[in-house]
């Protein structure tokens, strides 16, 4: 049962082979047993979970169940959820019991999904290793000496360790794809604007996008059907008609044009990761895909552009944490300014402070054009590169990260080294494109490696089709760590 996909759990619930309460109990027991070693969850509340599960069973008994009613889910601690602590991995929000729920949470509850708990994450989603959480680092279930990736490391570790069959996540610069790759699970970041940001604690608003992780592409498609959709409370939510993201899963791949960006296979890509990606491309060729070389010449510039735009937006977004309306307030202060300065110095961790200060600097008088506007122009160049590449292909494939998961502590002392490891994921956020990570093999050190699939705007169904067909002829996605 613990290795079942969403689709299988849905079938078992429908057939009456298992109840929502039994399922929730099985996962909660597993969380109790394994979470002390993995630290994938910040908050678990058995009573709340079982109350949701009971309600799901009642709904099913009343004949009002949907496809996923009674299926358990972990929520990244970035999505506000009424009555649950929503910490965003920060001391700043350690005492914050959300008075409302995010759109994503509302959608999941409307579908009858049962909350298993709140997944650990890098503080305010800033990080690539999950070492920046106030609640301590998450451990990679494949190797507890390895980082799980970040910022959605708790979500990825939970799905990999089978502590949850599915988990919500968010991706601002790779925070779904990179941990999914490092933990050997399937993750999707939709086109910017497809999933509402309402109630999702803001990091960099023009880049943030909610998504999901599960074992399979099919499960991700089922979840996207629940999560996507217009929401007027998010000013950048796109008004589009609803899609069925499962509609193209079974399509054959014959004639699919797959673009390989030469910049993603250049110096800096580890040999073992490169071989895994080559093998994955070969599998797709066997399924009838044609390979074309494409170029994304401004890839290298995605790092400086991202590390201007994201901190700039973060410095504005995180100004709301002032110790007045919610969140941490210092015990002692002599005036209002000192209250702000001490509350923020105590409430934020060092990476968050760094990014706020970088953002404050690049937005400050006299530097705005040289940094922020310059970065937004480079953002346009990067989006133009993708537009040119997609003129000749249907999806773009490449690695998610230059190496498999690195060791805990290996890069935590050097922020710039950590930033450089984001090279293959940042461009997608800057351009606002959808992308996935799909399990594709194991590196020489035994740690999982994901294949990145990048789609054109609103190309989620196409990407999911490619991922699903790949998963019909490979079994990397069904491998689980021995725990």
């Amino acid at each position: 049962m613990i290795n079942a996909t969403l689709k299988q759990l849905s079938q078992q619930l429908t057939a009456g082979q298992v109840s929502a309460v039994e399922l929730a109990t099985a996962y909660l027991d597993r969380i109790d047993a394994l979470n002390p070693a993995l630290n994938a969850f910040i908050t678990v509340d058995r009573d709340k979970t079982l109350a949701e599960a009971l309600a799901a069973d009642a709904r099913r008994a009343a004949g009002q169940a949907g496809l996923l009613t009674g299926v358990p889910i972990a929520h990244k601690d970035i999505f506000c959820q009424q009555g649950w602590k929503t910490s965003c991995g920060s001391k700043m929000l350690d005492n914050f019991i959300s008075p409302y729920s995010a759109h994503v949470i509302e959608q999941c509850q409307a579908a009858g999904l049962v909350t298993l708990g709140r997944a650990n994450m890098d503080e305010f989603a800033m990080g690539s290793s999950n070492e920046n959480s106030f609640y301590g680092a998450v451990k990679n279930p494949w190797d507890v000496n390895a980082i799980p990736g970040g910022s959605s490391g708790g979500s990825a570790a939970a799905v990999a360790a089978r502590l949850a069959p599915v988990a919500t996540a968010t991706d601002t610069g790779g925070s779904i794809r990179q941990p999914a790759s490092h933990c050997g699970v399937t993750g999707i970041k939709p086109t910017y604007g497809v999933v509402s940001r309402f109630g999702m604690v803001a990091y960099a608003s023009s880049l943030d996008q909610g998504g999901v992780m599960a074992q399979t592409a099919e499960d991700c498609a089922l979840m996207l059907n629940v999560m996507a959709g217009f929401d007027e409370r998010d000013s950048t939510s796109l008004e589009r008609t609803c899609e069925d993201y499962t509609r193209d899963l079974a399509q054959p791949l014959a004639g699919l044009r797959v673009g390989l960006p030469r910049e993603y296979f250049a110096d800096g890509l580890a040999g073992d990761v490169g071989r895994i990606i080559d093998n994955a491309v070969a599998e797709l060729k066997k399924l009838g895909a044609e390979v074309v070389e494409v170029s994304l010449p401004n890839t290298q510039l995605s790092i400086p552009a991202y590390y201007v735009i994201a901190p700039a937006e973060a410095s504005a977004n995180l100004s709301r944490f002032d110790g007045v309306r919610y969140g941490h307030r210092a015990d002692e202060y002599k005036d209002l300014v000192e209250m702000y300065e001490k509350s923020r110095a105590e409430g934020f961790g060092s990476e968050v402070k760094r990014r706020i200060m970088v953002g404050t600097y690049v937005l400050s008088h006299g530097y705005y054009d040289a940094y922020y506007i310059k970065a937004q122009k480079i953002r346009r160049l990067i989006a133009n590169d993708f537009a040119a590449a997609f003129a000749g292909c249907d999806v773009i494939l490449g690695p998610v990260a230059p190496t498999a998961a690195f060791n805990l502590g290996e890069k935590s002392g050097d922020p710039v080294q950590m930033y450089l490891s984001d090279i293959y994921t940042l461009s997608v956020n800057l351009a606002g494109l959808p992308a996935m990570s799909v399990p594709a093999g194991f590196a020489d050190n035994g740690r999982p490696v994901g294949l990145q699939i990048i789609g054109n705007y609103f190309g989620e169904a196409k990407m999911l089709n490619v991922a699903h067909q790949f998963q019909q002829v490979t079994d990397w996605h069904s491998k689980a760590p021995a725990l």
């Binding site: 023009s206 401004n298 400086p304 209250m339 923020r344 600097y361 400050s364 937004q376 122009k377 346009r380």
Partner: protein, 95 residues
């Protein structure tokens, strides 16, 4: 260019984050490393390129000027550090 301790203190003040004298050296050196990384952008010619603020280049929606939210003051203030009679309390700002 490189940030001086004075620059770091100014950025910290603008950010409303207290940075102690003991921290300023380390914070300054990390910020300088990051700014060094960012500096790579200046080598690129971006003349005539329109800055991109939104991937779909959509403009913000307008809505009817109507009341859509109920009054949930008590629920929202339940998480506040200090409230009194429905007001958020802060240190005195006007003498």
């Amino acid at each position: 260019m490189s940030l001086t301790h004075q620059d770091v203190a100014r950025i910290a003040r603008l950010s409303r984050i207290a940075v102690t004298d003991a921290e300023i050296e380390a914070v300054g050196s990390q910020l300088n490393n990051i700014l060094g990384l960012i500096e790579q952008m200046q080598a690129v010619n971006t003349d005539g390129i329109e800055p991109m603020a939104h991937p779909q280049d959509v403009s913000l929606r307008l809505r009817e000027d109507a009341v859509t939210e109920p009054n949930r003051r008590d629920a929202c203030q339940a998480v506040a550090p200090q409230v009194e009679k429905g007001l958020f309390l802060v240190p005195k700002v006007i003498e």
